[in-house]
Amino acid sequence: MKKFLAYVKDYKKEMILAIICIEAETAFELIIPMIMADIIDVGIANEDRSFILLKGLQMVVCAVISLFLGNLCARFTAICGNGIGASIRAAEFQKMQTYSFSNTDKFSTPSLVTRLTSDVTTIQNSITNGIRPGFRSPVMLLVAIYLSFKINGALAVVFLIASPILGIVLFFIVKNVRPLYTKMQGAVDYVNRIIQENLAAIRVVKAYVREDYEITKFEEVNQNLKNNSEKAFSLAVLNMPAFQFVMYGTILSILWFGGNLVIIGNMKVGSLTSFLSYVLQVLNSLMMFSNVFLLFTRSLTSWKRITEVLEEEPTITDDLAKEIEIKSGSISFEHVFFKYKETAQEYVLSDISFDIKPGQTIGIIGPTGSAKSTLVQLIPRLYEATSGNISIDGHPIYEFTQKHLRDSIAMVLQKNTLFSGTVRENLLWGKEDATMEEIERACRIACVDEFIDRLDNGYDTELGQGGVNVSGGQKQRLCIARAILKAPKVLILDDSTSAVDTATEAKIKEGLAKELPGMTKIIVAQRITSIMDADQILILDDGKINAVGTHKTLLKDNEIYQDIYYSQQQGGNL
């Protein structure tokens, strides 16, 4: 809750103005029935026409002022609510950017997206819709109670009985409905997950004729959701009859006691009627307040989900970073172990040690699941080694800031991501202020120049989300060009030429060697031809280094390498 107030601070001015407007508006509204009482009790009793007209005019003026204030309040509230919503969203996004993948994996992508969007919308809506009744009703309540005491203290005791009853009932509802809403939200998540998976895998479902199986699965979660929401909503709607019960009871008591007072002559008829209207006001305020409460109960669930995002500690930090720079690009691994989850029993990588000299080219090859990609992702600290030491230029990688480390290392991932935008915009990810010459040079090295002219608008061709407009081979070449633009000290290619033909691949390698000779290159590949001329070849098997050598030595001694080599010899080009 303290955290929440921090976001309110930026909109303190609007918030205060909104509250002032609400309270002032409320005050004017409260005056109106008092003036009304005068019309009946004084105006009519004294048969004073001009008094009646004057009071009428006063009422209209009050109403007009409250109209003006109400409109102002709507404006300030909207600014405040939507502003706070925007700040929370921005804070979440910023926080999310500091996450390591173990952080992200904890939430899962769809859940993170919901927490950044619909959860914030829920909060934003409850602020915007809740401020007015939230600040209005307590004042209404207090003033009405005060005024009714003033009209008739004895009669006003009725409130002291009615209010606690209503309060207790509402408290009971709110208290019990909260866990029910949380449960309901969980049930909604299940249903959404089943649908999402089903839609994504619809081809698998149809191919295996599993429609009925999927329907059964869905029915289960659907029933669960139905039961949970029925429970939650059933309790929440008790609000209405409970309120009516207390309101009617109060009216009847007042009629009885008030009626007696009037008959005895201790009270005027006009006072009784305005007293009645205050009673209604008190109870109405309580009702509104309880609605705001229910609204907040629902958004509390959302706020909890948001704080989880905001309070998640990034597992990879710059705490140990110093002011040092990467100069040469030598890399060494010393007894590195890694597993994705603390709780996992087996290591994904075990006891990895090797050294790379600046400017060397390293090939990494090995069977599926041997953790090749995982290994190279440890270098730019996408994941943190569980134990052991990785150093660049003799310094452990955590002594560089993440920014500098990642600036100095370019990596092309196995699963390439291009973003919606033009080809040029995507390339500029590598270097924001790259000149046209720099772009063209990078494209020449990555052999992008071979096809760029064939795209509809050259560098200005729009790529859809994920780069759907270019073929696999073209996408890989664009990603390589984007990485080269960074002018990195270390370049890591993770199976990133698999869809490029061997002739082009050879050209890219030649270009890299000629134009960027000082750069350390790490190439993860499945084809022998991609790595056979590397200075060192690492063979990974089952997360362990099986052998290190060159094409020649490995072909002579290493069984895995021979196996891979011959399996591809027969196939020639992959």
């Binding site: 109106i32 009519i44 026409r49 009646i52 009422m59 209209v60 009050c62 007009v64 109209l67 109400g70 404006r75 909207a78 919503g85 969203r89 996004f93 950017q97 996450y99 993948f101 994996d105 899962s108 992508t109 993170l112 997206v113 919308t121 007015r132 249903v191 999402q196 998976e197 089903n198 619809i202 081809r203 698998v204 004729v209 329907i215 659907n222 929401s229 059933s234 009859p241 009847l252 009629l255 009885w256 008030g258 009037v262 008959i263 008829v269 996408l382 920014k403 600036d407 290392i409 196995q414 973003f419 073929s471 696999g472 869809a499 490029v500 033909d501 089952d542 891979i564 196939g571 020639g572």
Partner: protein, 619 residues
């Protein structure tokens, strides 16, 4: 909670309303009870207020205490009825509405399962998801509250107006004028805010898309140190959203205070003129007092009614989208021929079997009753097949091809050459526009779709895993498979060794589509899933693209034993994958341009040769 109070207008209100009523109609008794209870509850409120006047005028002013007691007692009963019915209708309404909503959701899901793939190609997942989430939610909210509130506020409005007319028709003219003014205001404001709400929705969509793209591309963002630029872009979108939604909410926020203020002016005028009336002797004080109570009350149901009509319209717009989806045509399935597990006797006769024998036959209905059995052999032929995903653009222009039973047949060609399309057609994922496809001599349209697909195991490049354990995901291929079967299939797919190393082996829970598994491992699981289904025909569409060549060889060996004498279709980018196929078909522009085995194609020195020698890149 003012959920998009903009007037999102459904196109055909009447039709959608009728469809929605059909769902509600299954709960006639509940609806009947709800309507009755709402009426009683509303009436008790109106009558109660009406009696206030009688209490003041006839009993309190004359000082008739026994009469007063009597009257309070009567009012107590009326009010009690009101509270009781209010409780009952709310309770029944929630039950009914949640039942209806769950029925709608269920029908929608069931219908979705029967839609042709074409539909999924032309609609994004986000779009389909939003029918299940946003649209269903809107209906749920509306049914929960709006339905009863609508009836109640309507009855109360009418009742109040009648009461006002009864009490003093002259004074009522003021109220009616103001009510008309309020209605006009609400309509105008609704129209104005609609524009802003549309802008808000658009900006919200943009920010949703951006966040989704950025979370998915997080690795690339980090590698390129692009956090700052992305944050700037996000802030820009965020600011646009803030501006739009502030405007939208300012407009809707103004409605309530404006209506309240208008009702106060109305109240003031009524009091003022009423006072003058009383002085002129046209009305008595008691009547005036209760009249004024009604005046104050009249604004609320009117306001309520308009708001609820708005909600209902939004809900109907959502319902319309859902019903439109439910009206989409199912996949066409008129086939009558089914697939049976059979046993072949020594004398060549075929009889049905309950257990897996490795033999299958097509059960062809003959005449009025009785069947003949055609053994399943996996002989697939295309005769002049014409097909396009859209009418304007044909992909296959009269393609002819054949796959002999028991052969391994490979398709090679550029992206867009039609490889995957051919596979999709064998499975009848899409309907051909011309020509004929036969399966063991039977037109595939004669075969019941479920059985056709059951006869073919398909492995596609993008492996989709479901939330559940590894074992569950493999078992998806054959639901009755035992644990031993699963291990056997995993071993065959070379997945056993990596599964064993997972934290909980086969019981390791996969979440969010198996995010921690490598591409290759996912493909191994998909192969295991196909292997366990014991398919008569196997189709592998780039199924081993992320698996290294050595492992692939091992899998191939296992699959070759499993699929001995059965037809296998392979699509691969990597030529080593297809090299040992009996027949390799090279496709280009929806036509078979070369056919033969590896050696034959090399001697032809055509496209295959150029691919093989690395002179050409497959896109």
């Amino acid at each position: 909670m003012a959920k998009t109070t903009s007037r999102v207008k459904p196109k055909n209100v009447k039709k959608t309303l009728l469809q929605l009523l059909r769902y509600l109609g299954r709960h006639k008794i509940s609806l009947f009870l709800i309507t009755i209870f709402v009426c009683i509850s509303a009436a008790s409120g109106i009558i109660g207020t009406y009696l206030l006047k009688a209490v003041v005028n006839d009993f309190i002013i004359p000082g008739d205490i026994p009469g007063l007691i009597n009257m309070i007692f009567i009012m107590g009963i009326i009010y009690a009825a009101g509270v009781l019915t209010c409780y009952l209708y709310n309770k029944i309404m929630i039950r009914t509405s949640q039942q209806v909503v769950s029925e709608i959701r269920s029908d929608l899901f069931q219908h979705t399962q029967k839609l042709p793939l074409n539909y999924f190609d032309t609609h994004t997942h986000g779009e389909l998801m939003s029918h299940f989430t946003n649209d269903v939610d809107t209906i749920s909210e509306a049914l929960n509250n709006s339905f009863t509130l609508l009836i109640q506020s309507f009855i109360t409005s009418i009742g109040t107006i009648i009461m006002l007319l009864v009490l003093s028709w002259q004074l009522s003219i003021i109220v009616i004028i103001f009510l008309a003014l309020m209605l006009l205001y609400i309509r105008r404001n609704g129209k104005l805010s609609k524009k802003y709400f549309e802008a808000q929705q658009k900006n919200l969509g943009a920010i949703n898309g951006y966040v989704e793209e950025m979370v998915a591309g997080q690795k690339v963002e980090k590698i390129f140190n692009h956090e700052e630029q992305d944050y700037r872009k996000f802030c820009e979108l965020n600011e646009n959203l803030r501006e739009a939604s502030t405007k939208a909410f300012t407009y809707t926020g103004k409605t309530v205070p404006t209506i309240v203020a208008l009702s106060y002016i109305n109240y003031a005028l009524s009091a003022c003129i009423g006072g003058l009336f009383a002085l002129a002797g046209l009305t008595d004080i008691g009547t005036l007092a209760s009249y004024l109570v009604y005046v104050r009350q009249s604004a609320m149901p009117m306001n309520q009614f308009t708001i609820q009509i708005n909600f209902l319209m939004v809900a109907l717009a959502s319902a319309e989208k859902i019903f439109a989806m439910m009206e989409e045509e199912h996949e066409i399935d008129k086939g009558k021929i089914t697939l049976s597990k059979v046993r072949k006797e020594a004398d060549g006769t075929i009889s049905e079997s309950d257990v897996y024998t490795g033999e299958f036959a097509w059960k062809v209905p003959k005449g009025m009753e009785g069947y003949t059995y055609v053994p399943l052999r996996g002989d697939v032929r295309f005769h002049d097949v014409i097909f396009g995903y859209t009418k304007e653009h044909t992909i296959l222009n009269g393609i002819n091809l054949y796959a002999k039973p028991g052969q391994k047949i490979a398709f090679v060609g550029s992206t867009g050459a039609g490889k995957t399309t051919i596979i999709n057609l064998i499975n009848r994922f899409y309907e051909i526009t011309g020509g004929q496809i036969t399966y063991d001599g039977i037109d595939i349209r004669e075969i019941k779709k479920a059985d056709l697909r059951r006869s073919i195991s398909l492995i596609i490049q993008d492996t989709h895993l479901f939330t559940g354990t590894i074992a569950d995901n493999i078992r998806y291929g054959r639901l009755q498979a035992s644990d031993e079967d699963i291990v056997k299939a995993a071993k065959l797919a070379n997945a056993h060794s990596f599964i064993k190393r997972l934290p909980n082996g086969y019981d390791t829970l996969l979440e969010s589509d198996g995010a921690n598994l490598s591409q290759g491992q996912r493909q191994l699981l998909a192969i295991a899933r196909a292997a366990i289904s014991q398919p008569p025909v196997l189709v592998m569409d780039e199924a081993t693209s992320s698996i290294d060549t050595r492992t692939e060889k091992l899998i191939e060996k296992g699959m070759d034993t499993l699929m001995e004498n059965r037809t296998v279709f392979v699509i691969a980018h990597r030529l080593s994958t297809v090299r040992n196929s009996k027949a390799i078909l090279v496709l280009e522009n929806g036509k078979v341009i070369e056919r033969g085995d590896h050696e034959e194609l090399l001697t032809q020195k055509g496209l295959y040769y150029r691919l093989y020698t690395g002179q050409f890149e497959l896109d």
